[in-house]
């Protein structure tokens, strides 16, 4: 079961595509908000939302918002989600955020993540304030009516609470070992 709104972010230390280890604490340190997004390479929902997430990360970076993507998929069943392929994807798309490898899948289980992409947004105190999909239209960015993640970020940065705290995550299932 996924984290409940108001829950603390479970700690982790994971390998980033640049070879360095990234911890939750280092991501939270000084951040006005932190978006943890369970993601992967092969999923069409991830690919459909990828540019939008990159843009959101860039748009909010100046306001102290941090992002990290975590891939927990089993690379044996899905070779496109292997660590070398993660490195290639991050380089190809010039990811403006860490892309972390949850090799044991323990972090995905701790968060209760089930899909890719699945967003967990934490406020400056590390409490979960939004969980779900990035917006309401994976198929076409021009047809989005509800910008869940952007609206949640705007609310958090204004010192309030998101107008929508939870939406069903929409995407591929995480590929468990």
């Amino acid at each position: 079961m996924a984290l409940k709104i108001g829950a603390d972010a479970p700690a982790f230390e994971l390998k980033n595509v640049d070879g360095n280890t990234v911890s939750l604490e280092s991501l939270k340190d000084g951040a006005s908000a932190l978006a943890i997004v369970f993601s992967c390479n092969h999923c069409p929902y991830v690919l459909a939302w990828e540019d939008r997430l990159i843009q959101i990360a860039r748009d909010y970076a100046g306001e102290g918002v941090r992002f990290a993507l975590i891939n927990a998929n089993d690379p044996v069943k899905y070779p496109a989600d292997s660590f070398p392929q993660m490195q290639s994807r991050a380089q190809l798309k010039s990811y403006p955020f860490p892309y972390l490898h949850d090799e044991t899948q323990e972090v995905a289980r701790a968060y209760g993540a089930e899909r890719t992409p699945e967003v967990f947004l934490f406020d400056a105190s590390g409490k979960l304030v939004y969980h779900g999909a990035p917006d309401d239209n994976y198929d076409n960015p021009l047809n989005v009516k509800k910008y869940y993640l952007r609206e949640a970020l705007d609310a958090v940065l204004a010192g309030g609470t998101p107008p929508v705290a939870e939406t069903p995550p929409v995407g591929c299932t995480i590929k468990w070992k």
């Binding site: 092969h42 999923c43 069409p44 929902y45 690919l47 459909a48 990828e50 069943k77 899905y78 496109a80 994976y138 198929d139 076409n140 960015p141 929409v170 995407g171 591929c172 299932t173």
Partner: protein, 110 residues
């Protein structure tokens, strides 16, 4: 016209994809023998050469034959590309429409 609609439950785009297919059949005033196949196991995916969910075959021909090489056989969600280059899990309307019109012997834009 025979249409196979293959899907796996894990990929949520199958419902809107089936709705899109039915809408286009109605729009084009076409009758089809529509067979809906739920793919549940890797073995079934292999035996059906299933390149991901959803997959639509019209008279045995995939609506996006080139896309089948980009998607490995298995219980994944299938990646489609729109005409303007975007990725989507939903079979693009123009691909479905062209496949239907081709099978019906009607002129297509491709």
């Amino acid at each position: 016209m025979k249409i196979e609609f293959l899907y796996s439950e894990d990929c949520p785009s199958h419902a809107p994809a089936l709705e899109r297919l039915r809408d286009l059949l109605e729009q084009e005033d076409l009758q089809a023998d529509l067979r809906i196949v739920r793919v549940e196991t890797d073995e079934q995916a292999q035996s059906l050469c299933f390149p991901g969910s959803p997959t639509i075959r019209v008279d045995g021909q995939d609506i996006d034959p080139e896309g089948t090489t980009a998607n490995p056989v298995g219980l994944s969600c299938r990646v489609y590309r729109t005409s303007d280059g975007r990725f989507t899990p939903l079979p693009p309307e123009d691909l479905v429409l062209q496949a239907l019109r081709r099978a019906a012997g009607r002129q297509t834009s491709d």
